[in-house]
């Protein structure tokens, strides 16, 4: 895991907020400015978390983004630049293998982005004071009574010694002081619907015109959806019609309700982010539904938003079957040529491990399905990587 922490030392307060009255919580009046900074972090990855305890601090999971944004230092530079340019905020940034280390490093990065290399966490933390550990005042007082002032001293103690005195808090303190923190970046909650509306002075009279309006709405909505790295599971479409003679508005073929889930909203079998596929579904729906005449407003909502994990390829699809058959053929051919078990699969064993060879491993492709947890690991000294 690689985590970028952004720290904004001085968030602007709203004019009505007096400094002495400003409560020390992250949701103070500075929230809009901070939200703008979070929106900028969204450009670099889908998992952005605002710190629950420190105002102006946010985390971004940057695992696997090197191909897109270059080395961590370049990425951090770019984030700082864009936060200054687009939100007008001076910030500091650090990248490390965990939230805790990145969170500690960011406020210290006054001279420029700070990158703590993998495996160097313990060394980086060693000279820092124990007060930065997120432990109770009682635990902190116990550490001080023992003369432990620096994290390096805490890390040098046996873990079980701390655990026996402080329980789970001691274990956590020892791990953090050693640079071990497997806490994931938890994406912040966002509104569960994206919606856009188009109004027309001259009511629309044909399906083609309605479809053109839907196209315009999709042009606005789909990029927003993709920018959030999300997919939608439900489409909500609403036509507002000028009822002939009455002048009032009434719902059209597919009523829209932004609050309550409607049974006639379009539920998608597979969550989507493809403009073409969403358009196709709406077009079919439009053709099947009773067409309202004189539509003065079209509102489209993309709802039940979720992460990419929500996208599920149908198990019975021909593509899936063809892939499985091709894989079986390949395994058979490789088995005949190189012997049984020649097809391997890369799996993550312990991605956060400080010991590099414990992070990833190769397992037999067929054994992977049967479970490999109890398998014996090979020692090092001549281990060859295979593919």
């Amino acid at each position: 895991m690689e985590v970028l922490c952004l720290f904004i030392p001085q968030l602007p307060l709203p004019q009505e907020a007096r400094p002495e009255a400003a409560p020390p919580v992250p949701d103070a009046g500075c929230r809009p400015a901070f939200e703008a900074a979070l929106g900028i972090l969204d450009r670099f990855g889908p998992a952005v978390e605002a710190s629950a305890t420190v105002p102006g601090k946010a985390f971004l999971d940057v695992t696997g983004t090197r191909e897109l944004f270059g080395p961590p230092a370049d990425l951090a530079e770019q984030v700082i630049r864009e936060v200054l340019r687009d939100a007008g905020l001076r910030s500091r940034a650090a990248v490390a293998g965990s939230k805790f280390v990145a969170g500690v490093a960011a406020p210290l990065a006054a001279a420029g982005p700070l990158v703590v290399p993998a495996g160097g966490e313990r060394r980086f933390l060693a000279p820092l004071p124990v007060e930065i550990l997120p432990v109770s005042p009682e635990a902190l007082s116990w550490l001080r009574r023992l003369g432990l002032r620096r994290l390096g001293q805490v890390a040098a103690l046996p873990e079980n010694a701390l655990a026996s005195q402080l329980g789970a808090e001691g274990t956590a303190a020892h791990r953090l002081a050693s640079g071990i923190d497997r806490e994931p970046v938890v994406p912040r909650p966002r509104p569960d619907i994206l919606e856009e509306t188009l109004s027309f002075e001259t009511p629309l009279e044909s399906r083609e015109a309605l479809l053109a309006a839907i196209d315009k709405l999709l042009d606005r909505l789909v990029p927003r959806l993709r920018k959030r790295y999300q997919v939608c599971g439900e489409l909500r479409l609403c036509f507002t019609c000028d009822a002939a003679g009455s002048g009032g508005a009434q719902s059209g073929a597919v009523p829209f309700d932004g609050v309550r889930p409607r049974p006639d909203a379009v539920n998608l079998k597979t969550p989507l982010d493809s403009r073409a596929e969403i358009r196709g579904i709406l077009k079919r729906h439009l053709e099947a539904a009773a067409f309202p005449e004189g539509v003065s407003e079209v509102r489209l909502g993309l709802a039940r938003l979720g992460g990419e994990a929500g996208r599920q390829a149908p198990l019975s699809s021909a593509t899936k079957r063809r892939q499985a058959e091709a894989l079986q053929r390949l395994e058979k051919d490789l088995g005949a040529r190189f012997g049984h078990g020649s097809l391997k699969k890369v799996v993550a064993l312990d991605p956060g491990s400080r010991i590099p060879e414990r992070r990833m491993a190769l397992v037999d492709a067929c054994a992977e399905q049967q479970g490999y947890g109890g398998a014996e690991q090979q020692g090092y000294g001549g281990g060859e990587e295979q593919a």
Binding site: G120, M360, L362
Partner: protein
Amino acid sequence: MVTPLNAPREIRVAAAGSGGPASVRAAGRQRRVARISNEWRIDDEWWRQEISRHYFELELGDGQVITVFRDLASGKWYQQRC
């Protein structure tokens, strides 16, 4: 069977007086260490077969960067990506 990826590979290292690497034998030839850009220790799993390593991130004379470590139990040197 589980085969760890990125297993350490034994490497020949000539140590300087300070204990850090002065030159390494990589790609079939002896190469001078221009700079030690980072170093750190990993001490772990003392409850079973203890792992005690001193890692060095090295810049070689031709600008290549490699990471090596000295296994403090056996005294042997290994190369590994970090």
